[in-house]
């Protein structure tokens, strides 16, 4: 009886050890999905200060997936598969982005990911994806802010290069021959791109183009009171004000400039003045505000005009550049699945690396740093809409100077 009990015990122990080993071995056999769909996950800001950006990304991602599914899906792993898009709200909080990305990978078992918006959020999710070796394609992350995090293996970025953005206002002023006192005041948030653009690039380009920085200050990303900073810039008599801020502080600053009776001849507000919500919030005060752009429906890229028309028809909102970079990011990822003919993450990643095609946002081809650069133009708010004012060739409006 003792032998029988011992034998049973040994058998149970053997089984308890063997089954998990078999299952672990099975999971290592293939990196490919065994589900009947291709699962793409994305954690994006559907609430919080960047909800404006997130809503455009949601539209772009969903549109790309819908188009693919309308054509029957993608052939991968020997079968035609539909694409399933799983969106989570990161509430404009990088901690949430990281947590959501983990959830998408471990719980939802996504085959690949699409990125959030702005460096803090994109990078937070990207680090998780890279560690888990899950391909992630993103727009909405300026390239230096993206590259500064790490040497990426599985994360890919399609966006503009900060030095191009920082130089654009100076190039625009030179092209249009605007006359100012060449005094520049800089107010930038202390987020990753605010530090790069406001802290380093703008001062360097100001010097290069013969301007003098008379005032430079930074503030916490969501601060909404700028009394002292405005007073400082005003007292130094700066004709040019360069601001790097997200939308809530951009709105507050614009109003407070007016209340402080400070009217710089040129105002640039990067990031925060980009979405139409900014112009809706400040009304006529938006007129003349410059903001760097990387896409316009007038650009000669496939489907650009139609993308804008479709967005406005479906949402009854004014278009944003983010409908283009999000659509393109999703299309790059979906094309990679089609090229790889597999959901194996390594194969999909290799296919992304080989991307060389012009999408709605422009030509996409990744370099060794996993970045694909989009050229910059300078936009200006005019009558509730943005007009491209630089480069002059291809401009859709005249440079309003001085700011009305």
């Amino acid at each position: 009886m003792t032998i029988h009990r011992r034998t049973a015990l040994v058998a149970v122990l053997a089984l308890a050890l063997t089954v998990p080993l078999v299952l672990v071995g099975w999971s290592f056999r293939s990196n490919a999905s065994t589900s009947g769909t291709i699962k793409i996950g994305a954690s994006i800001p559907l609430s919080g200060p960047l909800a404006g950006f997130g809503s455009f990304q949601k539209w772009g991602y969903q549109r790309a997936v819908k188009l693919v599914n309308a054509n029957g899906g993608i052939t991968a792993d020997g079968a035609k598969k539909k694409v399933e898009l799983i969106l989570l709200d990161d509430k404009t909080d990088p901690n949430e982005t990281a947590a959501n990305t983990s959830t998408l990978i471990t719980k939802n078992k996504v085959d690949a990911l699409l990125g959030s918006c702005t460096p803090a959020l994109v990078n937070a999710g990207g680090v998780i994806a890279d560690r888990a070796r899950v391909p992630l394609v993103t727009g909405c992350d300026p390239l230096e802010a993206f590259k500064s995090v790490k040497k990426w293996q599985y994360v890919w970025d399609i966006f503009f290069w900060e030095p191009d953005l920082a130089a654009a206002p100076f190039k625009a002023m030179k092209a249009w021959g605007v006359k100012t006192n060449k005094k520049v005041a800089i107010i930038a948030d202390n987020g990753p791109d605010g530090i790069v653009v406001g802290g380093t690039l703008w001062p360097a380009f100001a010097k290069k183009f013969g301007y003098t920085v008379v005032s430079k200050a930074s503030f916490p990303v969501l601060s909404v009171q700028f009394g002292s900073l405005i007073e400082s810039a005003k007292s130094k008599g700066a004709d040019i004000l360069l601001v790097d801020a997200v939308t809530p502080p951009a709105v507050a600053l614009t109003k407070q400039l007016q209340a402080a009776n400070y009217h710089p001849k040129v105002i640039v507000i990067e990031k925060g003045a980009e979405p139409v919500q900014y112009a809706q919030a400040v009304g006529k005060l938006a007129d003349g505000v410059l903001v760097g752009g990387y896409w316009d429906p007038s650009f000669p890229y496939p489907g650009a005009k139609q993308l804008k028309a479709q967005f406005e028809q479906q949402t009854h909102q004014t278009w944003s550049q983010h409908i283009a970079d999000s659509t393109a990011a999703a299309q790059v990822l979906l094309d990679a699945f089609a090229t790889a003919k597999s959901t194996d993450k390594g194969k999909v990643n290799a296919a992304i690396a080989k991307t060389n095609k012009t999408y709605v946002v422009g030509p996409v081809r990744f370099d060794a740093n996993h970045t694909s650069k989009l050229p910059i133009v300078e936009d200006q708010w005019q009558g509730g809409k943005t007009a491209v004012v630089w480069p002059k060739k291809g401009a859709t409006g005249k440079f309003l100077f001085p700011r009305p």
Binding site: G48, K91, S235, V251
Partner: protein, 294 residues
């Protein structure tokens, strides 16, 4: 250490004082509810944001000026707050402090999500000529909206004090605040007194929201910021003291603005300075600057 110029210092002092009026208005409802009912109203920030959204919608669809729309918003918010207290919070108040507190926390989460559904998550702002206007006083450019907020702070604090001291309802509220059981025995309708308090607190929160929307901007999650500022003002001034809330708000505004005027500090450290002053005051005087509801 670089000191601010005389002009910069004077500007910071004046604008800080007036901005403190805005802080006072945003905190007044919180102070009233805590002072009378000993309830930390965690949905206060969302009531503030609701006021801003109502003004936005009335402006968009009814073309009403934001301050004029208060004529509609104030009674509407009172009529919202009164039943919340009578029906939802009132029955829980006999079950300890935690139940109503957690209920207000739950309401705040529901409110944020309802705002997103009804109004979207987009950043909004209330527009009016006086929102961005300024006037000059002794060579200092004063934002008009800050002066308006200061005026509201004085008027609302004075009106509340007079209401508490000179009206029957005010006497009931004070009695309920001092000793609810004894007040009940003496014939005071404590439940009604609490309902009135919560309704008034909700209306005050909405006024604060309209001023915030005019001075800055708002979205469904903005309430949390002003709940935090409101706490600081209420605790700084002394829990349950209207006079303390007024002085606390002004002090916070001045501390932030004057601190930010120092070139090495700037607006980037406003919040840090404000809360540093808050901690220093509490360290010296743990009960805050003033006493209870008066």
């Amino acid at each position: 250490m670089d000191w601010p110029t005389g002009h910069a210092f004077a500007t910071a002092l004046v604008t800080g004082l007036l901005l403190g009026g805005l802080f006072t208005v945003t905190a007044l409802g919180l102070s009233l509810v805590f002072g009378v009912m000993r309830l930390i109203n965690l949905v206060h920030g969302e009531l503030l944001v609701l006021g801003a959204f109502l003004a936005f919608e009335l402006g968009k669809h009814g073309r009403l000026d934001p301050l004029v729309s208060l004529v509609v918003i104030v009674p509407a918010m009172f009529l919202l707050g009164y039943p919340i207290q009578r029906i939802l919070l009132g029955p829980l108040m006999t079950k300890g402090a935690e139940a109503p507190l957690m209920t207000t926390f739950g309401l705040s989460i529901i409110a944020v999500n309802v705002f997103r559904l009804l109004f979207s998550a987009d950043e909004r702002s209330l527009n009016a000529s006086y929102a961005t206007a300024s006037f000059s006083a002794a060579g200092i450019d004063v934002p008009a909206i800050y002066a308006i907020s200061f005026a509201f702070a004085l008027v609302l604090t004075t009106a509340t004090h007079l209401f508490m001291q000179r009206t029957g309802y005010g006497r009931e509220i004070r009695a309920a605040s001092e000793d609810p059981e004894a007040a009940e025995v003496l014939g005071v309708n404590v439940a009604r007194a609490y309902g009135l308090t919560y309704g008034i607190g909700s209306a005050f929160a909405a006024i604060g929201g309209v001023l915030v929307g005019l001075a800055f901007s708002f979205n469904p999650t903005t309430g949390a910021t002003y709940l935090l500022t409101g706490f600081a003002v209420v605790v700084l001034g002394g829990l349950g003291s209207l006079k303390g809330t007024l002085i606390g708000g002004l002090l916070l505004g001045v501390a932030e603005s004057v601190g930010a005027a120092f070139p090495q500090v700037g607006d980037g450290y406003r919040d840090f300075i404000g809360f540093a002053v808050f901690l220093v005051v509490l360290a010296v005087r743990p009960r805050g600057l003033f006493g209870r509801v008066g």
